[in-house]
């Protein structure tokens, strides 16, 4: 019995704490791709109901108690909607001990960019939707946030001919890889690129460049990138007119992902870029 009380105190939290904990959870989702699930529960206000919920929850789940008229929220860290089924099943078994209906909505969150207000809104709406269904424990699963977080890849094109830059940019824009957003920026030469803070971000970067550039040339840009602490996030695609093998071998050693010799087939270029992007996505 003392165990029970203990659990009550630890796992039930005031509604005001929901927002900070949600954000903290979100940060984990973003950084470590952790999935979590929110369960919205609407029932008549009765202290007994909260007790029931607490008994059916796992010790790792947290119940946020909201004021009257608003649904309570259970946060299940590291949990997907399938695992939440267990909770619903257990809640169903309590139907015989209560005389009122309980509406449940399960929202699995994978998208690290979901906004707090949106989640709250959708939770409210879906739990109301559930209550329109039949049964003593009606439930819905909302999958609005289940879509994987779209990863943003920063693409830099370093090339001095504006016509060519435009074409390359369009060719890259044409490529669509699932779940990757491409953010493209063009630079006239290596020095502009290095001087910009564009490449200094935690994004994954794809750098498409000429090997011969006015001011800092390709190898030097490559060298600068390789000196960065998170260099595995930079994928370099080199275009070349010269074909000195020794230099190409050298560049590969320095971590060029792909080399392409000008003039090149745009289709080949596309598929090579695609290959690099897939590698980025699947790790």
């Amino acid at each position: 019995m003392s165990m029970q009380i203990n659990k009550n105190e630890l796992n039930i939290l005031d509604a005001s704490l929901f927002r900070p904990l949600f954000h903290w959870q979100m940060a984990n989702t973003k950084r470590f791709r952790q999935v979590f699930t929110l369960v919205f529960v609407r029932s008549p206000e009765s202290p007994e109901m909260k007790q029931i919920l607490l008994e059916q929850m796992r010790t790792s789940d947290l119940l946020f108690s909201f004021p009257i008229g608003e649904p309570d929220v259970i946060l299940m860290a590291n949990t997907g909607e399938e695992e939440a089924d267990v909770f619903i099943e257990r809640l169903r078994r309590t139907e015989s001990t209560r005389s009122y209906r309980v509406g449940v909505s399960v929202i699995e969150i994978r998208n690290g960019d979901a906004a707090f207000e949106d989640v709250l809104q959708i939770g409210n709406d879906s739990v109301n939707r559930a209550l329109q269904l039949r049964g003593d424990t009606p439930y819905v699963k909302d999958r609005s946030f289940r879509k994987l977080e779209r990863q943003c890849v920063r693409v830099s094109i370093i090339e001095d001919d504006p016509v060519v830059t435009m074409i390359i940019q369009k060719l890259v824009e044409r490529i669509s890889v699932k779940q990757l957003d491409l953010d493209i920026q063009v630079f006239r030469d290596g020095q502009y690129f290095i001087e910009s803070n564009w490449y200094q971000s935690s994004h994954t970067h794809l750098v498409i460049m000429n090997d011969i550039l006015p001011r800092k040339n390709g190898l030097e840009v490559l060298y600068t990138l390789r000196e960065l602490p998170n260099m595995q996030k930079y994928h370099v695609f080199m275009m070349t007119k010269r074909k000195s093998e020794a230099e190409m071998i050298y560049a590969y050693q320095y971590g060029v992902d792909e080399y392409i010799t000008k003039p090149f087939n745009p289709k080949l270029f596309e598929s090579q870029i695609k290959k690099v992007l897939r590698r980025i996505y699947y790790g």
């Binding site: 030469d189 020095q191 011969i212 550039l213 006015p214 001011r215 800092k216 040339n217 190898l219 030097e220 060298y223 007119k241 010269r242 074909k243 000195s244 020794a246 230099e247 050298y250």
Partner: protein, 474 residues
């Protein structure tokens, strides 16, 4: 009564000599101007970039070693290396030779390009001062730095030749920069002639006034300094008029040491650069001409106007004076060393035309012209008859000094368009008309000083000189 007559008639005689000399000079310049005009006209509309394409392809091009002798070049050397790294050329190595600099040249290069010491076997084909260390860049594996005991520019270049691994080498001053197509275009005559051309030189232009960042020209324009602009005019005249014409008939004696390419094989045959001369670049070319004639081979040395090398010109009288004295001293020494070639039919047009041209017009010209200036001043005190005479002489000077300069500017603007702004062109033209009144006399004095220091040095270095001559006889 008699005495003044004699002096005055002697005075008249000298005047006539000066007059004849001036006419001869004007004649030779005019013909060179015409040749240059025809040559340039032939390729004025040629779109060079179209034919660059084919040459970039790997197999056609010969790999080149670029040798950069650097003595106290900490200011300019980085820009120079950056411009070389941006060259459009399939295969080349860059050897920066630090000739015992006493500034931070070595540290600057090592730090900037992450140079690491390496072991390298040097094929000691030419005798040089010892090498202290060889470094290789971690970023650009084809960039090497060689530090050696100081031995002068010629010695540094010889070290570069020893270390180089490719069949052609290009010498470039440590403070100048290249356009990215320059190497390709300077090599073109060699390839297109199927290697009949064994040395080529490009145009050297003055970079002052241009905005240059990391070895790349960012903005073009004329410098505000008059003395530098004057030199720009001078360079235009020298490169477009003088060298174009001489090159047409394989008579070039000077291809600027600031930017030229040589076949290593041939340079090794003549023993590399000659040490202890001031004008090692001219000296090498004359040696090559001599060798070509001695072996009776059909090789050529050409100047090509297209590839451009940018260099910083002195912007004060003191440095300019030193430079001009050195140049002229070098010219004098080279001509003296190869005096047996002069008027020697064995050496063909080089012996019969080129060397005499350099001797009488380039080398002795300043002395005679100075005499001309002095003559004009004197004639003011000699009576009316001479004033008219002096007037004629003066007009010839104007024709020779200023009008030719102006014509060169127009030729340059017509064929190359280096200074596209109309304002700049106008300034150049106006300035060229003033040349004869102040700039020309000044350079004449400096060049004459060069002759006298060459004469003095001859005496100091007598023993070395004799050894050089005995080698010639063998």
């Amino acid at each position: 009564m008699n005495a003044p007559l004699i002096t005055s008639s002697f005075f008249g005689f000298v005047g006539y000599i000066l007059l004849v000399y001036m006419l001869a000079v004007i004649f030779s310049y005019s013909s060179m101007l015409v040749i240059a005009f025809i040559q340039l006209g032939k390729e004025r509309k040629l779109q060079k970039k179209l034919s660059d394409e084919g040459a970039v392809d790997f197999i056609y091009t010969q790999p080149v070693t670029i040798i950069v002798p650097a003595y106290n070049e900490q200011e300019g050397v980085l820009g120079n290396i950056y411009s070389l790294l941006a060259l459009q050329y399939p295969q080349f190595e860059i050897l920066v030779i630090n000739d015992g600099s006493i500034d931070n040249t070595e540290d600057v290069v090592i730090e900037h390009f992450n140079m690491k010491p390496i072991r390298k076997v040097v094929n000691q084909q030419l005798e040089t001062q010892p090498i202290e260390a060889i470094y290789q860049s971690d970023m650009h594996p084809n960039l090497l730095l060689i530090t050696k005991v100081n031995g002068g520019k010629a010695d540094a270049l010889n070290v570069g030749i020893n270390v180089s691994k490719y069949p052609y080498f290009c010498s470039i001053d440590g403070d100048s920069i290249l356009d990215n197509t320059s190497l390709l275009r300077v090599m073109k005559p060699i390839m297109e002639s199927n290697k009949e051309v064994i040395a080529t030189g490009g145009t050297v232009r003055i970079a002052n006034g241009y905005e240059i960042q990391m070895g790349q020209v960012v903005r073009e324009g004329l410098p505000s300094s008059t003395i530098v602009t004057m030199q720009i005019i001078e360079y235009m005249r020298a490169f477009l008029m003088g060298r174009m014409a001489l090159s047409k008939y394989n008579m070039v004696l000077i291809i600027s040491g600031a930017f030229s390419v040589f076949s290593k094989k041939w340079v090794l045959q003549v023993g590399g650069y000659t040490k202890n001369t001031v004008g090692e670049d001219m000296e090498l070319v004359v040696k090559l001409h001599e060798e070509i004639s001695d072996r009776k081979e059909d090789k050529e040395i050409v100047f090509t106007p297209d590839p451009v090398c940018w260099t910083e010109a002195p912007d004060n009288f003191k440095d300019l004076r030193t430079q001009r004295r050195r140049w002229h001293q070098g010219l004098a020494e080279s001509l003296w060393l190869h005096k047996k070639m002069a008027f020697n039919p064995k050496y063909g047009s080089v012996g019969l035309l080129s060397i005499p041209y350099f001797l009488f017009i380039e080398l002795l010209g300043p002395v005679i012209e100075l005499a001309g200036y002095a003559y004009m001043v004197l004639s003011l005190f000699m009576g009316e008859a001479y004033i008219v005479f002096a007037g004629i002489l003066g007009l010839l000077f104007i024709l020779y000094g200023s009008l030719f300069s102006m014509a060169s500017i127009l030729l340059e603007a017509w064929s190359r368009n280096t200074y596209p702004a109309v304002k700049d062109l106008f300034r150049l033209v106006l300035l060229s008309l003033t040349e004869v009144f102040w700039y020309r006399p000044l350079t004449l004095i400096w060049r004459t000083e060069g002759i006298s220091s060459a004469l003095r040095r001859k005496r100091e270095w007598g023993s070395i000189q004799r050894r050089g001559l005995s080698e010639d006889r063998e």
